[in-house]
């Protein structure tokens, strides 16, 4: 610990940030991809058709299929393909349970023109990718929640201390001075942090709220006691459905769903129906709740409740419930951004990327600051320094490569291979492991160039792999106006190009580096493994050479 308030804060910022930086990078990157989870799902199941059916068709198909699969169910749920989260018609059902046990559940994706069940290849999809940002992988979920929670707490600390130690937060608001070594990295770190500061704070704080019941169990335990039963009782009361109707046990036909949807659409406008939630279908006490598209961070839809037997409108329910619940839901809703339309979704994605790169620049700054002193040591850089440099490279470039490998695996693993969705993930982590080990056998700056080129190829070639293995390639999707597939392919291509630009720039810098330093790197292989090439290449301004 150092003397003085600002120095102390700076110490916390540096070491707190470093200790969990790699986990945070993983969490931020996979979480950012989560803003396009449905789109990635769709891309990873190229067999599924683009749904172009009308509402009436979807409803008819869904109802017929539910009658067939789940007559006498306690609950039916229909998600028509009217929004981003449901590109294809989805049905869900739950049969009545016995003796307090939960009944059998099922769900299906349907082709709403033919009524056939859709399956598509087995894949982890965007969901698995996004779930990793809070549940990690290969770990018990509770352990993962704690690891992510502690890291998030450090992140929150880093955000607050970062604001404290930033001396010229307003004066330097628009400042970026490239090619000045450490100064440039700090400028970039500041720019990324400050411009999206509200996002960084919101996302970290709300991330902690998600698992508040896990992190602070004693608050619930003080009123409900400890143990699984107490926990279940608490959640049952917290999320209780207040106006649940018991079945009358006398059969009655379900009134016309499309008539109810017509009433909802006349109030809300076309394509505003998000779901139909039907309790006790086929009973005299059936209820149909029609939910509206999300238009606020509240996470819940305003609903119209109909009598399922007569089709009469009973109730108009607002989305908000109690005040504390509303506050919680608003934070969680802001975190998830499910209410965001396409433009806002891209802004969310961009903000997430800014956060990811902010973490990366912070980690790089740590090494850039220490590199000159480390290089002067007679035995070469310390083990700790080399470790941080290797982990940085293996994570900052390695993880994006690993994620690209996940997409490659989706296209290249045999479609009928039983364990394919598990192996997609194994491929991701194997490739990441390889990129983490790679810097150990290579001079660190050369390693950066190599892996940047690998990343450029990994993303740049994805649209081509897609074209070779499926017929939903860029030319086709552009011709058909399928912006989802085209968007994913174009994003891959752009990512590849950006990595290539980074590789070319870094290569140029390495060439500019003083001859002496390069000779030292080539001739004296004493300190073979890491660093050494070019006394801090990035610190060399062009004027100096």
């Amino acid at each position: 610990m150092k003397n003085g308030f600002r120095q102390s804060m700076s110490w916390v910022h540096t070491w707190g940030g470093l200790s969990v930086g790699w986990i945070l990078f993983f969490v931020f990157l996979t979480g950012t991809l989560g803003y396009f989870d449905t789109e990635i799902d769709r891309w990873m199941k190229p067999e599924l058709p683009k749904d172009t059916s009308t509402m009436a068709q979807s409803l008819a198909v869904a109802e017929a299929r539910l009658q067939e699969k789940a007559e006498g169910a306690e609950r039916w749920f229909i998600s028509p393909p009217t929004n981003r989260d449901n590109p294809n018609l989805r049905i869900f059902w739950q049969m009545p349970g016995k003796d307090g046990e939960r009944g059998v559940r099922g769900n299906e994706l349907l082709d709403s023109t033919t009524g056939d069940a859709l399956s598509g290849r087995a894949t982890g999809g965007g969901q698995t990718l996004y779930q990793m940002h809070y549940a990690l992988h290969y770990l018990p979920t509770n352990v993962a929640y704690w690891i992510v929670g502690i890291s998030s707490m450090f992140m929150l600390l880093a955000i607050v201390t970062g604001v404290v130690i930033h001396k010229k937060i307003f004066k330097d608001f628009f400042t970026f001075r490239p090619q000045k070594g450490q100064r440039s990295w700090l400028d970039m770190h500041n720019l990324l942090s400050v411009t999206a500061l509200p996002f960084h704070f919101m996302i970290t704080y709300s991330g902690l709220i998600f698992f508040a019941f896990t992190y602070m169990p004693l608050i619930v335990a003080s009123s409900y006691g400890t143990g699984d039963d107490a926990e279940r009782k608490f959640f049952d009361e917290l999320f209780a459905e207040t106006d649940k109707v018991e079945p009358a046990n006398s059969p009655a036909n379900l009134a016309s769903l499309s008539a109810m949807v017509a009433i909802a659409e006349s109030r809300w406008g076309e394509n505003q129906v998000r779901y139909l939630d039907i309790t006790n279908p086929g009973d005299a006490n059936a209820r149909v709740s029609i939910g509206r598209q999300l238009n606020s961070p509240l996470r819940a839809s305003p609903e119209l409740v109909f009598d399922g037997a007569t089709g009469e409108l009973l109730n108009d329910k607002a989305a908000a419930t109690s005040a504390p619940r509303t506050v919680r839901d608003t934070f969680l809703g802001l975190h998830e951004g499910l209410f965001a339309n396409t433009a806002l979704r891209w802004l969310y994605f961009l903000s997430g990327l800014l956060g990811t790169i902010m973490i990366a620049t912070g980690m790089i700054l740590w090494t850039v600051k220490r590199r000159p002193a480390q290089l002067k040591k007679t035995n070469g850089p310390d083990f700790g320094h080399r470790l941080v440099e290797s982990l940085n490279l293996g994570t900052i470039v390695g993880l994006p490569i690993a994620i690209a490998a996940y997409f490659w695996a989706n296209r290249l693993l045999p479609v009928d291979y039983a364990a394919r969705s598990e192996w997609e993930i194994h491929v991701l982590f194997l490739v990441w492991l390889a990129t983490l080990l790679y810097p150990l056998s290579r001079n660190i700056m050369r390693g950066w160039v190599d892996l940047l080129w690998v990343a450029a190829a990994a993303y740049g070639l994805l649209p081509i792999i897609n074209a070779v293995t499926t017929d939903r390639h860029l030319a086709n999707s552009l011709a058909q106006g399928d912006w989802l597939f085209a968007g994913v392919d174009l994003t891959f291509l752009t990512t590849g190009i950006l990595f290539a630009i980074a590789a070319i720039k870094l290569q140029g810098r390495l060439r500019q580096a003083p001859q002496a330093a390069r000779d030292a790197a080539n001739n004296k292989k004493v300190i073979s493994n890491t660093t050494l090439v070019a006394q801090d290449v990035s610190a060399q301004s062009p004027e100096a050479t």
Partner: protein
């Protein structure tokens, strides 16, 4: 939506040009006069409020605030990089983006 971004962008450029350091990135030969600085800063703050109001009008207050923050993040990043790499383009965009949003 593009118009909202245009508003956010013009807000940012007004506030940045009110600082001599950035003023000279665009006009290296000139010096920012105090009157000009005040004018730019005040119109910047005014535009900031306008952007917030416009976003709130567009999508409602709750989502509008989220939208405005996202737009400002994007605008500041784009502007900061442009001020260094292509200051003339940074200036030209104050006209181009609003024009595009009306097409």
């Amino acid at each position: 939506m593009l118009f909202a971004f245009a508003l956010a962008y013009i807000t940012c450029i007004s506030l940045s040009l009110a600082m001599n350091r950035h003023f000279q990135q665009v006009w290296p030969q000139q010096k920012l006069s105090p009157r000009m600085a005040t004018l730019l800063r005040n119109s910047g703050w005014l535009l900031l409020i306008l952007t917030l109001v416009y976003c709130a009008k567009l999508t409602g207050v709750a989502v509008g605030l989220v939208l405005a923050l996202g737009l400002f993040s994007a605008a500041v990043c784009v502007l900061t990089l442009l001020l260094h790499y292509a200051p003339r383009l940074a200036l030209a965009l104050t006209v181009t983006i609003p024009a595009l949003s009306f097409i």
